[in-house]
Symmetry: C2
Subunit: 215 residues, 2 copies
Amino acid sequence: MFSKAIKLYHATGSPNSRRVRIFLAEKAQNVTLVPIDLGQGEQHSVAYRAINPRRVVPTLVLTNGVAIGEVPAIFRYCEAAYPAPPLLGTGPVGEALVVMWERRVELEGFAAVMEGVRNAAARLKGRAIAGAHDYEQIPALADRSRRRVANFYADFDQRLTQASFVADDAFSAADITMLVTVDFATRAFDMPIPPACAALRRWYDTVAARPSTTA
Amino acid sequence: MFSKAIKLYHATGSPNSRRVRIFLAEKAQNVTLVPIDLGQGEQHSVAYRAINPRRVVPTLVLTNGVAIGEVPAIFRYCEAAYPAPPLLGTGPVGEALVVMWERRVELEGFAAVMEGVRNAAARLKGRAIAGAHDYEQIPALADRSRRRVANFYADFDQRLTQASFVADDAFSAADITMLVTVDFATRAFDMPIPPACAALRRWYDTVAARPSTTA
């Protein structure tokens, strides 16, 4: 079992943090949650930058002090350390297909919502890209993001007419990222799943009912 | 050994294809290379879209017809199927750190160059994002990309004062993505490694000398 001595630096409202919290809940693992106050800029503190030079949450810090940033990297550590239940696929092909689909969801959906938010929110003026460097917002990206999300919904509705879950016929990390993306788009863009996307809606109702999703 | 019956759909000038070609060369694996003519738009053909709905190269197609797209997914398949030599780290922590560093190189370096190219090249007008949907170019992104690459060089020069290789003290997939990014930025932006980045230059000269890099 995970030691409570393992720490997950996270923020309650951070969609990337939620991806990891759900993943850990599916593994029935408990770690110590350490909140980082993004509103107060705590991610830019000297203390947090020593843990994560990209200044983003979440970061998993092991008992020996090793700090693992980036959601897919935290997923990979937890899957290797705690294989059951598998969330990153089984066998060479199964593993590859989960990586493929989880990444497509992230690139085409999750990243589009994030880019739209970062290029529009007043509190993120001058901070259009997370990390150590400042970049001005580009308003055209906010408009483009909404069109990307609409296409994402249509494309993955089509996908879910062919498969029970995003990557396969078993629940995986790709479903976690998809669920978080839908909720993020709903909250940030007021873009819930469109009524026409019946397969996506069926999938959502199944996945959102899992107890892990409240983590 | 890989069968020649396994196919890698690729393009010679595609940096993402090169990442996979180098990875396979490090594993001493031979697959059948199938060229896709990006200049002629072959990635949009009905035949290729059936293999990769995102219409991007590379795609690895196994003997049973399973198609694996997305570079990290192809890496994952090859690592699981052919573990030696390890290129994605060993042990839970080692694996996670390679995923983390390879991703940071991709997000902060590789993706910045790609975004700059796609938002500036005349041949990509209306095609600023790879995939099934058309998006207009945003010229401000081309300018921003160059600033991002300059920051990327400085940040990873600093990293390479602390480690022999990008992820660790062993060569890994993170070094492959880094090498391809440097060469891509040099070619596409005329931005070679700056003279001040001595650690990055030392790293580059070591890695570029590996026979795999001509793949």
